[in-house]
């Protein structure tokens, strides 16, 4: 029983991380139908930025977010102005295709650039609380895992509040529901897209810091993007809270599957679950009808 709870707790931690990884991707996809496969690469770059901030400024990794998030907001802004803005006028399927291709190019460039800047060596940020745990009735809960869960809940909640309670957030939601209608209503649609893209990229900072505390190298970008895509679809497009639930579900199922099929097929079980969900509920768990 203790072992079961212990193993599931690790599932919850990795699930929360999956949710964070997919969050920015989901926001961008929901608002403007861009499939930004470079999101994994941006998270990877965020991890390296955290590493740098910790190394040169001796910040705590979580504190480094006050620098990392604005930096990535600006990066998102630049990427949008330089590359993605011109896709806005395209029809839906063309948008999807072109954003996929451009962001794939960015993925290649980022991974290669990171290899040159930091070498492909494995990296991680070591802290005084790495490996420290809270013992809760025999179940050992690592500080970093708990912090990941809190971070995921707070960030998802904050983004949700922003979208539902602020004027600007409402404008973004209007754009995501109907681009043309929103522009007739006098909403500056291209500005709404710009800001939500920049926020989407800035959100890469949060999983970036968690991954920096675990282990990373330039090539994790591909794995992260794959994971994010799976969670995005599992959650249902445009559902930000669904992202958290989708991530947690995937993480817990993967962890629990150890009892059924052993460690080697862990990831397969998660993916099979994903395909089954799609078969019987094609709009995802929390998504609106496509």
């Amino acid at each position: 029983m203790g072992a079961l709870l212990q193993i599931l707790s690790y599932g919850v931690f990795s699930g929360a991380l999956y949710g964070l990884v997919a969050l920015g991707l989901s926001l961008v996809f929901g608002v403007m139908n861009y499939l930004n496969v470079a999101h994994g690469a941006l998270i990877m770059l965020a991890s390296y930025t955290v590493l740098w901030v910790c190394y040169y400024l001796h910040f705590d990794p979580f504190l480094s977010l006050i620098l990392v998030i604005p930096t990535f907001f600006v990066i998102g802004w630049i990427l949008f102005m330089g590359l993605f803005q011109r896709l806005l006028a395209l029809p839906e399927t063309e948008k999807l295709k072109n954003s996929l291709l451009i962001s794939f190019g960015i993925l290649l460039i980022c991974s290669n650039a990171a290899t040159m800047l930091w070498t492909a060596d494995e990296r991680a940020v070591a802290t005084s609380y790495t490996g420290k745990v809270i013992d809760l009735l025999g179940v050992r809960l690592p500080y970093i895992g708990l912090a990941t869960v809190f971070l995921a809940i707070i960030v998802v909640f904050a983004v949700h509040l922003f979208l539902t309670r602020t004027y600007f957030g409402k404008a973004i939601r209007a754009v995501s529901q109907d681009y043309e209608a929103a522009s007739w209503m006098g909403i500056n649609t291209s500005r709404a897209c710009l800001v939500s893209f920049a926020i989407g990229v800035a959100l890469a900072g949060f999983p970036g810091v968690v991954i920096a505390l675990q282990t990373f190298n330039p090539m994790v970008s591909f794995d992260l993007t794959n994971k994010a895509l799976i969670v995005l679809i599992l959650a249902g497009v445009g559902s930000l809270r669904g992202v958290l639930f989708g991530g947690l579900l995937l993480g817990v199922v993967e962890a629990a599957s150890v009892f059924l099929v052993g460690v080697a097929y862990r990831e397969v079980v998660g993916l099979v679950l994903f395909v089954l969900v799609l078969m019987f509920r094609p709009q995802g768990i929390g998504g609106r009808k496509a």
């Binding site: 451009i102 794939f104 991974s111 040159m116 794959n226 097929y265 395909v275 496509a290």
Partner: protein
């Protein structure tokens, strides 16, 4: 008439090319071009014509490679093993590919990506070892044979796609791509056409996989299941021009030669430069390289009037 002559001379040129150039390296590149053009066309039928963007083609490519390899190393001659690989890939499509049509649009894309990941991890777990080329098979191994095989499959594929693009079937596929609901409304059985497109597509992917398994002497069993085999054909099709007959061929030539040139001259930055060139292509040639021909043609026409 003239164009037929042009194509015939191109094919003849390519048949005699290895005798003229006599370089093993160039032969390698020609094989790779044929391999990528074939695989890219396989993707193109489903993605370019029928509009079903698959991110899981590695599954079918890998199934073809795996089957070919087992038969060939087991003593079956390669010209029998090759169609067997294609058949295996088709059977796999029946088992997992067609149910995936329950998913639509981007759900299909990412669903197929998940299938490819499942296949990759499963093969990694079941067959963790290396597939060695045996002494007997090494005797049968000749770049020239592989080239003619790859070229033959490539030409057959392009011919098939050409015929498809001019047929009623091709029109039906395009109508599914353009507007699935409208197509259904005018009485087109979209599911049927998607299944047909997938069948042709996977058979070709299986052939391409067989050629990979023939060409690559020794490799880890999972190598043809790697996700790159899903993304590369898509990139190539879009570089050249998706939904066209020549697009994937031109794309494959550019893709292979450019990468080779960059790797030989740029060292570690080669992937970065390739990424930049790729983005520029997508931004300025949204229809791919065949789009250039369109621009030229337009100018041509305006000059005449």
């Amino acid at each position: 008439m003239k164009s037929k002559l042009g194509i015939a001379s191109f094919v003849l040129l390519m048949i005699f090319a290895p005798l003229l150039i006599k370089s093993e390296y160039l032969l390698n590149l020609l094989i790779l071009i044929c391999l990528y053009a074939t695989l890219s066309h396989s993707w193109n039928i489903l993605g370019g014509y029928c509009g079903q963007i698959s991110l899981g083609h590695a599954t079918f490519f890998g199934a073809g490679a795996l089957t070919f390899r087992y038969l060939w190393l087991g003593g079956v001659s390669y010209y029998l093993a090759l169609p067997a690989g294609a058949l295996a890939s088709l059977i796999l499509a029946f088992a997992i590919g067609f149910p995936s049509f329950k998913m639509k649009g981007h759900y299909f894309s990412i669903g197929t990506l998940a299938l490819a990941m499942i296949a990759l991890i499963t093969v990694q777990n079941l067959l963790p070892g290396v597939s060695f080329i045996t002494e007997a098979c090494l005797k049968e191994y000749s770049l020239l044979t592989i080239y003619y095989l790859a070229f033959g499959v490539g030409v057959a594929t392009v011919a098939a796609v050409y015929a498809l693009s001019r047929s009623k079937l091709g029109l039906a596929l395009v109508s599914v791509r353009e507007d699935e609901e409208a197509a259904e409304a005018i009485g087109i059985n979209t599911f049927k056409y998607k299944v047909v497109a997938m069948s042709i597509s996977t058979v070709i992917a299986g052939f391409a996989g067989g050629i990979f398994a023939f060409y690559c002497g020794t490799y880890y069993h999972y190598a043809p299941f790697e996700l790159g085999w899903s993304f590369d054909p898509l990139l190539i099709a879009f570089i050249g021009g998706a939904g066209t007959v020549v697009g994937p061929v031109v794309g494959a030539v550019v893709f292979v030669l450019l990468k080779e040139l960059f790797a030989a001259s740029l060292g570690q930055v080669n992937v970065l430069i390739f990424g930049i060139v790729f983005i520029v292509t997508v931004l300025f040639l949204p229809k791919g390289l065949v789009g250039i021909a369109g621009i030229v043609r337009k100018k041509d026409r305006s000059a005449r009037t």
